[in-house]
Symmetry: C2
Subunit: 456 residues, 2 copies
């Protein structure tokens, strides 16, 4: 049976013989007794297995190594020891799979760097049991939120000829034999798709097309960035959630962002209690309080211009001087969320620092964009009302030197029954960093990809 | 309001003024009346908007084109016309977004080929409204099935140096400037990851690592195959579901496969009633009966050897002669599912035609693999017990000339606390073809990628 079932229905199983299969996380031996810290991975909690020298193969069992796979037949009883309420009194412990003493995950503290090198084994540790189960639960929270509200889940294509953000930094995808290329002009008609293609940086453009058919849509899939950044927040492969909604303006978009985030946080707090308590205790003190506070707060809504004014009027000494018409720095984000003591939607950004598809405001200087700044997380979501006017969009593309080639269909969405519509993007890993308190993006992705790192 | 809400709470809204925003799917004009076939994409059903010449801008409204975006203020009333029970008596119809007459999606039958060229607009047609909403609902069914049963959702990496199936046919991913490569040896230390990498063909190997930590895991993500096949069932980018379960043998795996498939089918039948009725009527006659029959059937379990015997004993004239120790052809699959009049699990396949990681049976000739053959769908899932013995796995890799390089970690899963474990893969699009009756994989993927095709 699963350990989770035992804990869920403890009353039914107390005093009755059960069988568990799982792994030895730790093993303490005494002359007449042994104590195995046992986990089968079905829940965060472990259980203590107690065995004594009345067992026929007592000597054999005492030799079982940490990391080994065992089958335990025994009886759940009240524990007299400290640290647990119940334990299993073993009647029989069978070795299913040995684990030699060079096993890298011994019962001690390992550095995060070391565990990254052992990415295939690290899910067996408490920290990554918590993190990756929360990753799974948070993914379900997102699907639940959107599906319950009638959104259609769209799988945007991964291989694409579009550069959706106009930012460059795309991986190229090819079946050409690089060894046989000469330094002449490449003949892309011989490549798999007959042209130069790469890995998508966003699923938004395709989601917009679906929003003109289903009204409410969302993507949840991988995106890629060939950016040579070695920071705690950059990975070259990560998952994004990109909802797109027709007949939705910037204000309604903020309503959705706030509602969704609170839903996800509540869902995780409810479905990952043990994991959150562990993280609160060992990773980020006050984590649960932080999240509970978020859920109960009203998010502030303020324009970029107002933000700059607040920053300028502050007596704070900033490394970068805040300026109207310019982007804001991390230190400014931090100041603003502290100033309002909670999450802040910053709207109406200078057009020159935002993407071509964002709706131009009547002032002709700003766009109807919104970034959500969250205390302790920075920018958690970025969204905008999309430019729904064909001519204005075309004009912005020309101004920003975005080629129309390959984007004619995207422009046509504004020709064939256009409508006010908005959407946002949320980096899944950024959300997880916020939810778990784990600081480095490499530690919330099962097998992270960063410059120079593509193992497993 | 959403049209879905109107239909869901019809009684509350009858006779009361409401506002709808959406698109004109068709427009019939009479001298004193007009009839607009209206959809907002929130449900499969459309609604008829009736307006008459008492409206001030009657003449203007009569000019509204198919595909245009409108806002309708009106009252839901019982319809006297044929084909619908209720309709909206319009008080006001505002044009939000025009649609010129060159709009490709007119209210007539279009060929599938034509609609593929208009992939960004085709979700607005009935067929693709049904198909892509079912795609979304089926995805939710899958997540619901696994999450309710305690499985952990794993995002396997997309960019990888492994060739998980040992089949070749991978796309290469690079940031090297191809234009500047000479025909000398490529220096991969200068590539983004410092080595040659490509797009994954399976998430299984990484899922196996997680199964040794969480016991029950599943992936649901994109996989890629650079196979130059132009058939109805091949795409170069598709989504796969790959569950991996520790302490699970081949028989238990078949239990899970059968249970999961029935759950998904029931979920879709329940959550996509209108869509399924449409498909049953216009795409595959008897579709709902086919699916209902599946849900109520007991799947047959039979070995590959027994299958060959049945085929040999049949009086059927096959194009390919069935042989012990060899693969079976599509015509054989078809014969077998008809023979048993239902889904058939075929187990214990000849080792030489299966992947290196499958568990070698004691006969040393077959592996503990299982394919699920479903009437009208062919092979819907492929799975196996995985080889859990280090030496046997290493031996198979050597026999099949699979390089250990880069797979040391995968082998080590058999060294550090190995256990009996099994998993299977299901192509999401193959499932959708079965669920919808839509025949071509290009028509169940939002923006399909096939050789020579990478538009949008």
């Amino acid at each position: 049976m699963d350990l989770k079932e035992l804990y869920d229905k403890l009353k039914d199983y107390m005093g009755k013989e059960i069988i568990l299969k799982g792994w030895i996380r730790n093993h303490r031996k005494q002359k007449e007794f042994g104590f195995i810290d046992f986990s089968d991975g079905t829940c965060f909690k472990h259980i203590q297995i107690v065995y004594d020298n009345t067992l026929e193969d007592f000597d054999e069992i005492q030799k079982y190594h940490i990391g080994s796979t065992i089958e335990v037949r025994g009886i759940p009883i009240k524990s007299e020891g400290k640290g647990q309420e119940i334990e299993i009194k073993a009647q029989n412990i069978k070795l299913l799979g040995d684990c030699p003493e060079d096993y890298p995950i011994q019962a001690k503290r390992h550095s995060m760097e070391f565990l990254r090198e052992q990415a295939y084994l690290r899910p067996r540790t408490n920290l990554f049991q918590a993190t990756f189960r929360i990753r799974s639960i948070a993914a379900m929270a997102i699907h639940t939120y959107f599906q319950e509200r009638g959104y259609v889940y769209v799988h945007s294509p991964l291989i694409t000829a579009n550069d959706g953000e106009g930012a460059g930094e795309m991986f190229q995808v090819t079946t050409l034999d690089l060894e046989k290329l000469s330094d002449k002009k490449i003949d892309y008609t011989k490549d798999f798709y007959g042209k130069k293609v790469g890995l998508t940086v966003t699923g938004q453009l395709e989601a917009e097309a679906f929003a003109t058919a289903f009204k409410k849509t969302y993507t949840f899939g991988p995106t890629f960035r060939a950016e040579n950044s070695n920071t705690k927040t950059h990975a070259s492969e990560f998952w994004m959630i990109e909802p797109e909604i027709s007949f939705c303006d910037l204000n309604e978009l903020m309503d959705i962002e706030e509602d969704m985030l609170k839903f996800i946080v509540n869902y995780v707090l409810e479905h990952a209690k043990d994991e959150m308590e562990f993280l609160d205790k060992f990773v980020e003190k006050g984590l649960i309080d932080k999240l509970t506070k978020l859920v109960n707060s009203k998010f502030t809504r303020i324009t970029h211009e107002e933000v700059i004014t607040i920053l300028k009027n502050s007596k704070q000494k900033f490394e970068f001087t805040p300026e109207y018409g310019e982007d804001i720095a991390k230190e400014h984000e931090k100041y603003i969320t502290e100033y309002f003591n909670g999450p802040v939607f910053i709207t109406n950004w200078p057009k020159d620092i935002k993407a071509f598809y964002m709706k131009l405001n009547d002032d002709n200087k700003t766009v109807a964009a919104v970034d959500l700044e969250v205390p302790g997380a920075g920018e958690l979501m970025g969204g905008s009302q999309r430019e729904e006017d064909y001519d204005k969009l075309l004009n912005r593309m020309k101004e920003m030197k975005i080629s129309e080639k390959g984007l004619e269909w995207y422009l046509n969405l504004r020709k064939y029954g256009t409508c006010v519509h908005s959407g946002f993007g949320m980096g899944f890993e950024r959300l997880l960093i916020y939810l778990t308190g784990v600081e480095n993006i490499r530690d919330v992705i099962p097998f992270p990809r960063t410059p120079g790192n593509c193992d497993f």
